[in-house]
Amino acid sequence: MIILRYLKKDTGGMITLSLLALITVIVPICNLLVPETSGLHVSTFTMTLLGKYLCYGLLAIAVDLVWGYLGILSLGHGAFFALGGYAMGMYLMRQIGSRGVYGNPLLPDFMVFLNWQHLPWFWHGFQWFWFAMLMVILVPGLLAAIFGWFAFRSRVTGVYLSIMTQALTYALLLAFYRNEMGFGGNNGLTDFKDILGFSLQTDATRAGLFIASALALGFGYLSCLYITRSRLGKLCTAIRDQEDRVRFIGYRVENIKLWIFTFSAILAGIAGALYVPQVGIINPNEFSPLASIEMVVWVAVGGRATLYGAVAGALLVNYAKSYLTVAMPDAWLFALGSLFVLVTLLLPRGITGLLRKKEASR
């Protein structure tokens, strides 16, 4: 298989994927089978937290694909992530059925609260899991395709494109805050009960979601590895380094950019869809420009243009965030801010850049 051949040359990727496979097996076992008194027991909280990190890892790969390999600094990937999350959230809301506070079999609680009589048209179909999953892929994909088609065709590049993507997610943030939009306003969607008939409160469902996240991350990693090592990937790198020359050779730069951007948005949407049932809430804050730019810093810390670096960066930064927001709530933004400055000034290639430098000097 061609992917295996690529993987053999990607030492970091081998290590990352092996570790991923290991925890995919061990963590659910330690959670479900090892008794709670044992030292090896992994609590459900920890497992859910790890599952959340894995979703972030997938999101980081999506950002890295466009930033590291294509040279597009997207400050709006949070929008795709959140849209995927909302699609999943809508399915979970429909699953609540008449168990909501108001007991309305059709309308989610917040619509009853707003005195709505009918389900808005865009909520139809989300009672089916397959439809929701289709939307998880289609909605972010379509948005990215439309936005990209406009942006790349008229050759908006560099900083302009970054600001446009930021404006995109900002506009969506404002829109989703509105109650009239029909997505729960600033409270978002929450109070989920079950997924595919399994209660979200049980450890087994959590373990299943964890495994699904790990598999999605593995799939995302391998597909991105395949793309970046293929001829398409070589072209991406060429576009990143010298866009005009690629165009002069005769390639349709905008089409390549559009495909990669859309694929990346779909990955982000999937990450969002897996994130929501584990966290139990989706609200407009996921659209905030800060959330999107945080994703960029994961990739920057880990090292751009290395897929395993992006995953490592996401895990590292988010672990630090979880730790600091509890230990020293005030310090987190200082730390995040300093991370931005220090990484861009001193570590332009991230942590993995350090490792590779050592390798090269050896």
Partner: protein
């Protein structure tokens, strides 16, 4: 308690009234005669039937006695009683089960009594409306022109053809032009209710183009019941001219609000236009430099709580210096290492913005602080009955234009400006000519940051000052710069004002949030068509993109 005999009492009252009139320097009217008239009226109120009461009210009002207003108000409010025993007029105020009474004529407190020893002075509906009218007329004679104006406006809704004569008299003596205008309008409205066609036509001519809301109501009423064809036609013409005038001023007001919003955008964006446009640096911490300026205003106001206006004026240079120094610090320690790598600059400055935000949150608390507005900036400028401009917005609009003009002159006329433009157009050539490009970069960045600080001073007058102040403006500012064309101050001015006005025009039929979203979408589409903005610029920034 000493009860003076009534003769003694009236003597004392006369004396007191004369004394008070003399001491206020207004003693042209025969005070004693007024006083006796007033007392006669009061007497009639106690003993008369409803018709006599009506006459009494008119009599009381005809006196210029200072006690008249209180008496009439009490009568209207049902607070006027007579003591059953001696038929003295008293005001009552409730105190538990008993009431405390005050003598009307002397103003003396007579202690508390049981309520059943008193009898209310009753009035009927006719008297009630008469009283209201009389009270309005009373206020029309007040020495304070503002009170007179308010009285005229109040009177507009309850005019009768008979009022025209009284108004006529008042018009001849009125000196204040605003009040006079109001009286003329009131007279015309009163005449509109006259049965004489000629008078109504005459009144309509007088009301041509009058924007007082009462006029519009009156004309609508008139059209509903008018029989005479000429009057009808004329009234229709006058009404439509008034309505189109109101629509016009509504438009003017909307444009003003738009320009006001636009001026805020221009202030926020113009510093960015310099750093982004002239030296090609994306400064995501620009919003936080605005915030620093706003906090500087807050701190200076805290230091001098007694002179808010002076503190605000002092805050302008102080904010410029503080934000400017912060900008130079950022440039020297971070940005200078990242020239030529715009995406990295963007990330690093974003990090700085987070640090600045959190520092402010740690130092000043995450809560919003409010900055006081000095007296000369509050209130509004009433241009006519349907158009008023708030003074603080007007000031900020003018201020934004001044800042723009100052900055424009600085860039066009000073030697620093020349150097800045030279470096922007061709860095290596400028260096070859002996310009120290690094120094110019730092100064330009400091200048842009300082302007951000000044913007913060202005913003502190419009919104609360909080750690998130900058964040909410940064994307809008970028939109303005990108829309107007990078590296072009005129573009920023036109772009900012245009976006502000467009926003305010969209708002009524989409709502504020949706208007903002539509503007963002519009700019996204606009950039597709014209990536260089409204006014493209050639130079380093222009060539790079």
């Amino acid at each position: 308690m000493i009860l003076l005999s009534s003769r003694w009492r009236s003597c004392l009252l006369c004396f007191l009234t004369i004394m008070s009139l003399v001491s206020f320097g207004v003693a042209p009217c025969p005070a004693s005669e007024d006083t006796t008239l007033f007392e006669q009226g009061a007497h009639q109120l106690v003993h008369g039937n409803f018709r006599q009461k009506e006459a009494a009210i008119a009599k009381i009002n005809a006196t210029n006695d200072p006690r008249a207003e209180k008496l009439l108000r009490a009568l209207l409010g049902g607070k006027l009683y007579r003591v059953k025993k001696d038929n003295n007029l008293v005001y009552i105020t409730k105190k538990g089960s008993r009431v405390s009474i005050t003598d009307v004529l002397s103003g003396k407190e007579l202690g508390t009594v049981k309520k059943r020893t008193l009898k209310k002075i009753t009035i009927n509906n006719k008297l009630r409306s008469k009283l209201r009218e009389e009270l309005a007329l009373l206020a029309l004679r007040s020495p304070d022109p503002d009170k007179r104006l308010a009285a005229v406006n109040k009177l507009m809704s309850s005019l009768s053809p008979e009022s025209a004569k009284i108004l006529e008299k008042l018009i001849t003596t009125e000196t204040n032009s605003k009040v006079r205008q109001g009286l003329l309008t009131a007279r015309a409205i009163a005449n509109l209710r006259d049965t004489d066609d000629a008078k109504r036509l005459q009144a309509l001519t007088e009301l041509q183009g009058n924007l007082n809301p009462a006029v519009k109501n009156e004309l609508t009423r008139l059209l509903g019941e008018e029989k005479n064809k000429d009057v009808r036609q004329k009234a229709e013409a006058v009404l439509s001219s008034i309505e189109s005038k109101i629509a016009f001023y509504g438009l003017v007001e909307k444009i003003f609000f738009g320009l006001s919003l636009g001026s805020v955008l221009v202030l926020a964006a113009i510093g960015l236009a310099i750093t982004f446009g002239v030296i090609g640096v994306i400064n995501m911490a620009h919003g936080e430099l605005i915030m620093l300026g706003a906090y500087t205003t807050y701190v200076i106001q805290q230091l001098m709580p007694n002179s808010i206006g002076l503190a605000l004026l002092l805050a302008i240079p102080a904010a410029f210096v503080i934000s400017g120094l912060a900008g130079i610090l950022i440039e020297r320690t971070v940005i200078r290492f990242l020239y030529g790598r715009p995406l990295e600059t963007l990330l690093a400055t974003f990090g700085i913005s987070l640090i600045l935000q959190q520092s402010v949150r740690t130092i000043f608390s995450p809560l919003n602080r409010s900055v006081a507005t000095p007296a000369w900036m509050s209130g509004s400028l009433q241009l006519n009955p349907v158009l008023s401009l708030t003074i603080n917005r007007l000031t900020i609009l003018v201020f934004a234009l001044l800042v723009f003009a100052g900055l424009y002159m600085l860039l066009k006329k000073s030697s620093l400006g020349l150097q800045v433009r030279a470096v922007a157009q061709n860095r290596s050539m400028a260096r070859a000519m002996g310009i120290r490009a690094a120094k110019v970069d730092a100064l330009t960045f400091g200048l842009g940051s300082g302007i951000a600080g000044i913007a913060g001073v202005a913003l502190s007058q419009l919104t609360n000052v909080g750690p998130n102040l900058g964040q909410s403006y940064i994307i809008d500012s970028f939109m303005v710069v990108v829309f107007g064309g990078v590296g072009n101050l005129w573009g920023t001015l036109v772009g900012g004002l245009t976006l502000g006005v467009a926003n305010k025009f969209l708002e009524p039929w989409t709502g504020a949030v949706l208007a903002k979203i539509l503007i963002l979408v519009f700019i996204i589409l606009f950039i597709q068509k014209r990536p260089q903005g409204l006014f493209p610029q050639k130079g380093r920034a222009g060539a790079a993109s």
